[in-house]
Symmetry: C2
Subunit: 195 residues, 2 copies
């Protein structure tokens, strides 16, 4: 057997099994988002605080005087921080629209107080709630109660970032976000990163 024939044989012996392995592991198709399952289930990105950009902060200090049914403590009371990926923010600033697959993560943290030389201070305690919105321009999950109006919507306890507590986005999410419909349900007027 010549030297070249021996090299070819060696190549075939290694390459063919490697190719079979690779094909067996290849996904059937490219998924829409790493945070959306084939059934439309949404999960919380794990690394948003450490690597995403911050759109802005909202502080909800009291219940709105919107009628007697609004009395009591809102689950939204606290300091809200909103995060997204840098490339989504860049695209929004360039085009005025959130690109398909944009992920917005909103954390709610209770207000902590302190008196420092700077003044009477509010800062954020441990997160109590995380909301996720995922931009869906293709209306991918038509009969899913967590998807509609151009977004996927989900609500989590930080301790369980895969268990969406929302059963109906129209009830659980639009109750607050409806008033921001003209800006695609996002409160951009309060986001320094967008201005």
């Amino acid at each position: 057997m010549s030297k070249i024939s021996r090299m070819s044989l060696t190549l075939i012996l290694f390459a063919v099994p490697a190719l079979i392995l690779a094909l067996g592991q290849a996904p059937a198709k490219v998924p829409f988002s790493p945070y959306v399952g084939a059934d439309g289930a949404v999960s919380v990105p794990s690394d948003f605080r450490a690597s995403w950009v911050h759109l802005g902060t909202w502080i909800v200090t009291s219940q709105a005087a919107a009628g007697p049914e609004k009395s009591g403590t809102s689950h939204a009371n606290g300091i809200h921080g909103v995060y997204t990926r840098a490339e989504s923010l860049k695209a929004y600033k360039e085009t005025g629209a959130w690109p398909d697959g944009t992920v917005l993560v909103l954390e709610v943290r209770p207000v902590q107080w302190d008196d420092l030389p700077t003044g009477h201070i509010m800062y954020a305690g441990d997160a109590t709630e995380i909301s996720v919105m995922i931009k869906d321009r293709a209306n991918r999950f038509k009969n899913h109660p967590g998807w509609g109006d151009g977004w996927g919507w989900a609500l989590f306890k930080p301790s369980n970032p895969r268990a969406n507590m929302s059963t109906d986005y129209k009830k659980d999410c639009l109750s607050c976000h409806e008033v921001a419909r003209d800006s695609d349900f996002v409160f951009v007027q309060g986001y320094p990163a967008v201005k």
Copy 2:
């Protein structure tokens, strides 16, 4: 001339001028930070909102009752957002110390109010002040009034990100940051990204 000799000659003809060009353009030495001049002058990074991570938010709603000289409105009143580069945050979380060259940017924005279905809301208006801290483990600018205690300190109006308004960090910066000396002058207890 053999084929190999011709290849060597070609390589030399291209490589030698390229090397000369590269050496001619090389900087005399690597600068400490892109935001610090040779004289210790600090400037505001231009891209922190669009590409850096956000450490956390502090809200200063009133003056501390620290004595009669503290009455009146503090220039620090407002919503404070603090940003750094992702790699600096990663290093801090791994080691418990800010690496040399770490840049912290703090924006102060006045509180805006709104009444929304979510509740009575505070959000951030246009920035009125930007502070910059740059970690300096080598005590590089010994007699500079903006450098000391392991940091470079500077204070800007957003309209002029190169004109440091602080003339003495001990007076202009430590008046608030002294109480955080045990955590290297950084109020890490309020930073969700650090927790």
